[in-house]
Subunit: 724 residues, 2 copies
């Protein structure tokens, strides 16, 4: 009895909705319901859903899901239809009459900040250290971080450089378009199938949006075909839920690729003004920066993470940073792998390259001179624990990727650093045993990046059983304990502590059981290599499978539980070195060689980690060279297809070499660090620096597409190689 | 991509399969696979699956699922087809050519026991105390129980009566025909959706049948629309699995009602020869009995439970019982609510009524005179714990249902006892908490009889939270710890211990968390009425919901686990009193009043218990008055529809009154006893005794259908009432 939903989207980037008439759509045979923003229950302004690192403003999220009063970007959902077939639903969309009053769209983030700019929201005020602004504004947040006295720092400097950088809106490019289903059952209890990054976070959001206790909602996570941060806040399932409320039937909505590009949550563009001062000996004396994140139609840009990441690697006594979260009439951004950091580190790393050059220093030596280490203060006032930045820099400096000569015209080598602080939060699992001696580990975390494999390895290690005997099962919100989002590179790290605890819990219970089978007190039983044996008599033992089997035949079954929500941060640094060749006739940048370095703490599964390092690098290369949202003057996205929105494909890329550095994290049973995000951060900086060395032209704007490189070379009159 | 399966069934009750040619069926467009018994992997003779109380012979089960070499009953599966629609599959069945060599069917259980009878199986031998028979036989088991010396006992008796009783094959009549789906995934892992009484038992059976480790199979139990013991051993899902192995697609089979009646597992018929001796003072001196259970085409009749139940209520120094499990060419029987007891207790209770009459004693007084009590030996050599038999008899004796006069022609009142030992085995659950202060209890037990409601009540009680805040979730074999079958009236009893343990585990962890929130050591925290408070300062507290919420916001999530597999038996006695009026012109028995008494230990949910008492009584009334499998001389079931197989409907029945007696069980946290099975046991005896008092005619054969009553009255020349 499932129905199919389709979404009617705004043809304007900014307009008032005067009237919606769905009567003609409702008259179509097979159409069962139409919903609009008027059907969304009211959410109190200021209601925040805590979602791991990302706080979500639920008041605005409600208005994003279905426009209420105004449409704020081209593609903003205005209404939705449920029908007996997707074709009927799509046909009925065209029969919904919407009367709009177009308003002037605000598309430039810096113009949006001006007091005279048209306002997107008359109830959005600027939050800052000073409190909340009196007048509404397009600036949602002004974040300030300060240490020392930057004026004093710059006064000590021999070299001071100041630059402005710009990055574009880009999409995560996950393979799988959103496909979600909701069913409001006759007793009011709701089942939601969704490809979300977190079953519990998804449930919390629905609970707030619809004012329903979370326990009345069961979220069943489906396998996720990529997310990269883009599937954290709910967009589709609430519409399914509204349609199901009206029809009593399950309603499924599957987005098209065009809808995904036009109206899900891309990565935030950035305007960064940065000023760095350094002494002749290489010491950075001051950093001052202004990072303006464009969050699209509703607040939520990745300001804090972006700011922290750009400053993280550098020791400096004096710094001042202003971060801004600004709304414009574009799709509301979402997290995108190391949210905010790819853009901010591009800016910082490109500028540091200029500073090193001005000082006549090797770029890696310059970073080593200023690299933070354990015990140093972090930009946010915390203190660095054990980190692998210096070890990584040392390794890179000696690497052939850095030392081997690169010759030839229009060729150049560049490097840049990357950083991600890494998430912690809560992860839970429980372990049950099978009669055949294998175990099932039910986890609360959705698997985005083969985390199941790493978790299975850790369980096998903790329990002393073969990897093949461990099966990881992703639970649902009814049957597994609370677990936060899969994101922030946190799953393997936080799960390492949960599975360790669950394994210890299980082994403790198994020891007691084995003691009973062996006829000795539990304290006389030891466990090693799959055997529960009597301390003094190693030959007297029960095997792990024997105890498992016995537990299914009487005396009570066995289960171990583990949950951790107290781990310390396990920050990860990365460093990329890129060799490029630029074709001056076409502006095309060819990557000759690409090497990634990363401190992973402890490599649980090197192959999977290399996959993360390579995949992150490739996405960062996309940011750097080809990807951007192209809007026209009315705010209409002009390249909403994978043909026109150009992501890198295998033919564009060389082999990405990976160098794993292992400096154990300060916390957790294995010293694991999250690995997913740090590798997307350095590519744009490394490539900008390499292109500069290949052409003599510095790029302050992404992407460095063939067209832009071509015109920049022509403008600079640089048609010869600058060489190495 | 799911396919639909249909099963080709034998048109003979006993035949050799010479040849199966499926080529014409396979040529039908849409037909994807055909399987026969040759596709079933070989199972070693003597392989036994331990299934709670019921051991299942997997060697014979394999041959039952798909006939191998011989068909052994009319309706025995011979082949199955998977096709893209049920219609195509059904059509293709008709194109499978099977060549049979018909054999003489063995239909009478007593003839089947004769050495000259045709053998169903040439590899079936009689197991008994003396070992295994040398020659194959249709007798699978000869069970012997003996105490004292029956000859001596009969010598002391003033009255000795000896009778033979016969009951018929009957069906559980569950609402929902078997509907199961299996999917062999590309990696070989199997998912099975089934309406089984036990997800783990189902998995174990498939594991043995297909020689696959249990951990490679995931069983997802669907809601079960009735089972009553009939859905314990696997019949349909193995065929789905075979078809899925051949096609790589999920295959679903839904049986028709006719298939359910013709070829699932009905209740076992019984031939009972019983001899009882008693002294004039009412003391039973000896019981000798022979119970012959007809198990249909394969061994597995309910001998042990039937024998125990019949003898259970009676103290006697001298007893000898022989129980037989005999195969005939009929459908292989399954458990049916108090398996074996409804038939055996009909026989015993009818004879006890005659003995009481011969002694001139009130039937209840006679039972009281001989009732077992705590400390007495059980027939199987164990010792009775705390039981409520005497309390129940006392209550019934004073009840208006027994004391109020019943007058009028052809009217009579009868009573009988019932018993079920009650299952124990392993039950497991785990409890997780939601941010709203509610809890989810994931249980390993399938819910056949609203056990979820009782479990939720017990959890609410253990945790001190409102019932509405408890949600029970039935898990699957991947995510919950081992739990045995839902059967044997064991779930509420064994789960009571598991939920108590899980609740204590959870509350212990919550105390620690609350202590942290309150800033005191855990040992200073107490819990009462939903509050964790500081011992000395009751006003300083955190509520249960507050601790739940906090656990989702950091510090690790919470879970409690419980499993019990060590409970003592908690036996349950029942007693029914029936007032009937017999129409001498039609033989129809009208029930005027019906009262059930039962010791339930502790009534967790009286309404649900009354539902069990009433439902059990109604099914027993069906055995007594109308239900029977009618086979022709070739072994073809002639009444395989609900029109011809006559189950009682509401119009046939009076209100069933319920009297709950509460004598706490010896074990378990609440004193609960299982309640589901005891109430099906007494009806046939109570009604036979009532009909005797109404008509003067004793019935030794079930059902006492109008036709049979009519002819019996005519034969006896009894056309006047015997009266009360």
């Amino acid at each position: 009895g499932m129905l199919y939903g389709k979404i009617l989207r705004s043809p304007y980037a900014h307009a008032r909705i005067r009237r919606i008439d769905a009567s003609r759509a409702l008259a179509v045979p097979g159409v069962k319901a139409v919903v609009t923003g008027a059907d969304m229950p009211p959410v109190k302004p200021g209601t925040i859903a805590p979602q791991g690192e990302l706080e979500i403003d639920m008041y605005y999220l409600s208005k994003l899901i279905l426009a209420q009063g105004k449409v704020l970007f081209h593609g903003h959902p205005v209404a939705a239809v449920a029908a007996t077939s997707p074709e009927i639903a799509a046909y009925a969309l065209g029969l919904i009459d919407v009367e709009y009053e177009p308003l002037e769209p605000v598309l430039d983030v810096e113009k949006a900040m001006e007091p005279t700019a048209p306002l997107l929201h008359d109830d959005l005020f600027t939050r800052s250290l000073g409190g909340v602004s009196e007048k509404p504004s397009n600036i949602a947040l002004h974040l300030q971080m300060e240490r020392g006295n930057v004026e004093e720092g710059f006064a000590q400097a021999d070299v001071v450089l100041e630059r402005t950088y710009r990055t574009q809106m880009v999409h995560q490019g996950y393979l799988e378009p959103e496909a979600e289903t909701a069913w409001v059952q006759p007793d009011g209890r709701i089942i939601v199938w969704c490809n979300s990054q977190g079953m519990f976070a998804h449930r919390t959001q629905l609970s707030i949006l619809f004012n329903i206790p979370p326990s009345r909602i069961k979220v069943i996570p489906t396998e996720v075909g990529g997310a990269f941060g883009g599937k954290i806040y709910v967009r589709v399932s609430p519409i399914c839920l509204l349609l199901s409320q009206k029809t009593g039937r399950p309603v499924q909505i599957v987005l098209t690729r065009e809808e995904v590009l036009r109206a899900t949550g891309p990565g935030s563009p950035l305007v960064a003004h940065i000023k760095v001062g350094a002494r002749r000996d290489g010491q950075i004396t001051a950093i001052q920066a202004k990072f303006i994140y464009d969050s699209g139609a509703f607040p939520g840009g990745p300001v804090a993470g972006g700011v922290l990441s750009a400053l993280a690697p550098y020791k400096t006594l004096h710094m001042r940073v202003d971060g801004y979260d600004v709304v414009t009439n574009k799709p509301r951004v979402a997290a995108y792998r190391a949210p905010g950091a790819t853009a901010s580190c591009f800016a910082m790393e490109a500028l540091m390259d200029e500073v090193a050059e001005a000082l006549g220093m090797d770029p890696i030596d310059f970073r080593l001179r200023n690299a933070v280490e354990e015990g140093d203060p972090m930009p946010n006032g915390l203190t660095w624990g054990r980190i692998g930045l210096k070890a990584m820099l040392e390794r890179a400096r000696r690497s052939p990727a850095w030392t081997e000569p690169l010759t030839g015209p229009y060729r150049g080598r560049g490097m840049a650093l990357g950083f991600w602080r890494g998430g912690t939060n809560t992860s839970s699992c429980h372990i049950t045993v099978n009669a055949d001696g294998s175990v099932n580990v039910t986890v609360g975390s959705v698997d985005l990046s083969s985390t199941r494999t790493g978790i299975a390895q850790m369980v096998a290690e903790c329990l002393g059983i073969p990897f093949e005997q461990v099966r990881i099962v992703v639970g649902d919100t009814d049957t597994v304990a609370h677990t936060d989002n899969s994101g922030g590179s946190r799953i393997t790290y936080s799960m390492s502590a949960a599975v360790y605890q669950a394994s210890q819990d299980l082994l403790g219970k198994m020891k007691v059981r084995a003691a009973g089978m062996l006829g000795v007190p539990p304290e006389q039983v030891e466990y090693r290599d799959g055997r529960f044996f009597v301390s003094d008599i190693p030959d007297k033992f029960k095997t792990f499978p024997e105890v498992c089997y016995a537990s299914t035949r009487g005396g009570g079954a066995l289960q171990g539980f583990g949950s951790n929500g107290r781990l310390k941060m396990a920050p990860a640094f990365s460093l990329h070195i890129a060799d490029v060749e630029v074709d001056p006739e076409t502006g095309k940048v060819r990557i000759l060689r690409y090497t990634t370095f990363q401190d992973v703490g402890r490599a649980i599964n090197p192959t999977l980690i290399e996959g993360q390092m390579q995949g992150g690098a490739v996405q960062g290369i996309g940011w750097a060279l080809t990807e951007e949202y192209v809007f026209d003057e009315k705010g209409v996205l002009r390249n909403a297809s994978l043909l026109d929105y150009r992501m890198p494909v295998a033919l564009d890329l060389p082999m990405i070499d990976c160098e794993i550095i292992e400096v154990p994290a300060s916390d957790g049973p294995f010293g694991v660090r999250g690995v997913g995000e740090a590798p997307i951060v350095p590519p744009a900086g490394a490539l900008a620096n390499a292109i500069y060395r290949a052409t003599g032209v510095r790029f302050y704007r992404l992407p460095m597409s063939p067209e832009r490189v071509f015109w920049a070379l022509r403008e600079a009159g640089r048609n010869g190689p600058r060489g190495q």
